[in-house]
Symmetry: C2
DNA sequence: CTGAAAGCGCTTACAG
DNA sequence: CTGAAAGCGCTTACAG
């Protein structure tokens, strides 16, 4: 038996990449110790930690995400599901979450559901295959199968925009604000200003829009001025053009309406443009308010009264909460209410 | 030596996941063959392919992305770099690319550069660690280090929005349209309508904006009406409000200007709003045109004349080209010019 | 607190 | 055309 046989020629692919064992060798420790030292897992001698970190630094070592994911069964991906990319609201959410996550070394895997529960389910299936470290998902309105997928995956999950229904079973994490209360508050503002026939005009009709409507409804009922004919619901996608159309319909078919609460700013902006075109005075003939305080709502003629929603802060806070959950810790509170702000401008 | 020693108890983590060897066993072939059959690598007997596929189907097998990435040194990620998320233009690009890529089983890893070459470089470094199968990147204006990172990574790459400079060295792939020509065409439209003192007003001042300006300039020079004082450049971010400010400045400081070419629709929309507020007639007193045909430009008062840019088609075509490159094939053409369309409305 | 070894679930030279 | 085996680059029981 040859004592000195040469090292076997490498049969396989070499990457050229600096690996963990390179670092371990340079630091004079085993790969296990190097791994533990680098991840800040306790139970490693302080001086070894320093040595390993120095070696890693010197060799410009960066761990391979795929190897780490395979070995630990947990990737550095975070899946983020939003309904649409064509609504600034959700883009703001995505951007803030992505920024926060990236600062901690996580990559965002985004999914666009188009408000379709089937598509959301499919997306969840695909994304969960990547064993994401965490999941951020918009709203609380999901198919039963989606709910099971999320629960079964054991992936930490935070819901965006909505708060949990009070009295829900499991302690689900969410950060958002009270949509119904925001809708009620905006309606009360109108009522305080003396408007009585306040129409509620909505498109898209997702869960959050319906919550705003229930807020509007309860405020109207409390004031004794609620009428079912004041509700204008259109399931089509929200847009400037649709807002213009709905506005024309309302003023034409119900000239007595003295204020309109559009469930989203783009509808309200479209209405304002149409009013201008038709020579209808806002707010003298009819007041208009929107929701979300989107880009341009401070520039319209007249400037739009609306509710400012803290979506960037929601995205950031939700990401932060998710980061805590990923570490296996428990967030200070399971529900974070970030509130909203009534922005009174000239249109109402 | 015991002849019948029991199989060693599994010392490690079991995932519960259906693996390739499960499929191979069920199909009565080796893991290697199963792997090749599933990936459609030729050199596998047709009947075996069928058997393996049937087994995979039956067991609901889905390959593990991390294991595949580790072994093949190529993930199913595609990195997509865009400058901003707050400009619909880029969101449209991202959405179209993502949709096309996802249909072929690729996950999009997005990066937002904020028009910052340093940030782009950093992002590239991070994303390249994930060994993406491909890279989609906006524009052709990158730092030297970024270019080296891209080249060194050997990751197939397609540039978005711009076309390559004619006479560039390497055959780089890109899909977009001729920004300078679009700028020139829009200017010629104004000149044909009889406007002579056509100002060019721009913000952001990225490479594509400057190309549009050079188009404007050459058209103005060709008509013999170019003047340096007609250029209004502001490095700040583009917005409705800024458009309004620039408009006021121009009409105040250079009342002889009879038309303004804003480099982006949001500026033009802001200008239109300000004109309305100031009672300045568009296009009678001053004509206004924009660029990109963004949301709302058909709703302004008056409706905005602009250039429609095919960003969704660019995103899709670029993704398609990248898919071809990933397969190791050569695209029919390295440069795809998707053109643009002059949209004449009421503002000019 | 540390290390040797097994394993995560694939792909891919290599040999036949 | 097919299979056995090595390897991708980590993490993690296990033993000390």
């Amino acid at each position: 038996m040859p004592l000195d046989r040469p090292p076997p020629a490498t049969r396989h692919r070499a990457t050229g990449r600096v690996t963990l064992s390179d670092v371990a060798r340079a630091a004079g420790v085993s790969a296990s110790t190097a791994s533990r030292a680098l991840r800040g897992e306790r139970a490693v001698a302080p001086d070894l930690i320093a040595q390993v970190q120095a070696a890693a630094q010197r060799l410009a070592y960066v761990p391979d995400p795929a190897a780490r994911a395979l070995a630990s069964r947990r990737s550095d991906h975070v899946a983020v599901l939003i309904p649409l990319l064509s609504n600034t609201l959700f883009v703001d959410l995505l951007e803030a979450a992505q920024k926060t996550l990236r600062a901690q070394g996580y990559q965002t895997l985004m999914g666009v559901t188009h408000y379709d529960r089937q598509e959301e389910e499919q997306l969840l299936r695909e994304l969960l295959l990547h064993r994401p470290a965490g999941l951020l998902i918009t709203g609380r309105d999901h198919s039963q199968a989606s709910l099971e997928l999320m629960a079964g995956s054991r992936v930490p999950c935070v819901h965006l925009m909505d708060l949990a229904e009070p009295g829900g079973a499991m302690p689900t994490y969410s950060v958002g604000f009270d949509q119904a209360e925001a809708g009620a508050e905006l309606t009360r503002h109108l009522l305080r200003k003396g408007y009585r026939r306040v129409a509620f005009a909505a498109a898209q009709l997702d869960a959050r829009v319906m919550q705003r409507m229930s807020g509007w409804r309860s405020a109207m009922q409390a004031a004794g001025v609620y009428e079912a004919t004041l509700e204008w619901l259109n399931p089509a996608a929200s847009s400037l053009a649709l807002g213009g159309q709905m506005f024309e319909q309302i003023v034409q078919q119900r000239p007595a309406v003295d204020a309109i609460f559009f469930c989203n700013d783009d509808l309200a902006q479209g209405a304002l443009l149409t009013a201008l075109r038709r020579g209808i005075q806002v707010p003298e003939q009819v007041a208009i308010v929107g929701f979300n305080d989107l880009t341009g709502s401070d520039q319209t003629l007249p400037a739009l009264t609306t509710v400012r929603t803290p979506r960037a802060r929601i995205g950031e806070a939700a990401a932060q909460m998710l980061l805590v959950l990923i570490k296996g810790q428990t967030p200070a509170q399971a529900q974070v209410d970030l509130g909203f702000e009534l922005v009174e401008r000239a249109s109402a």
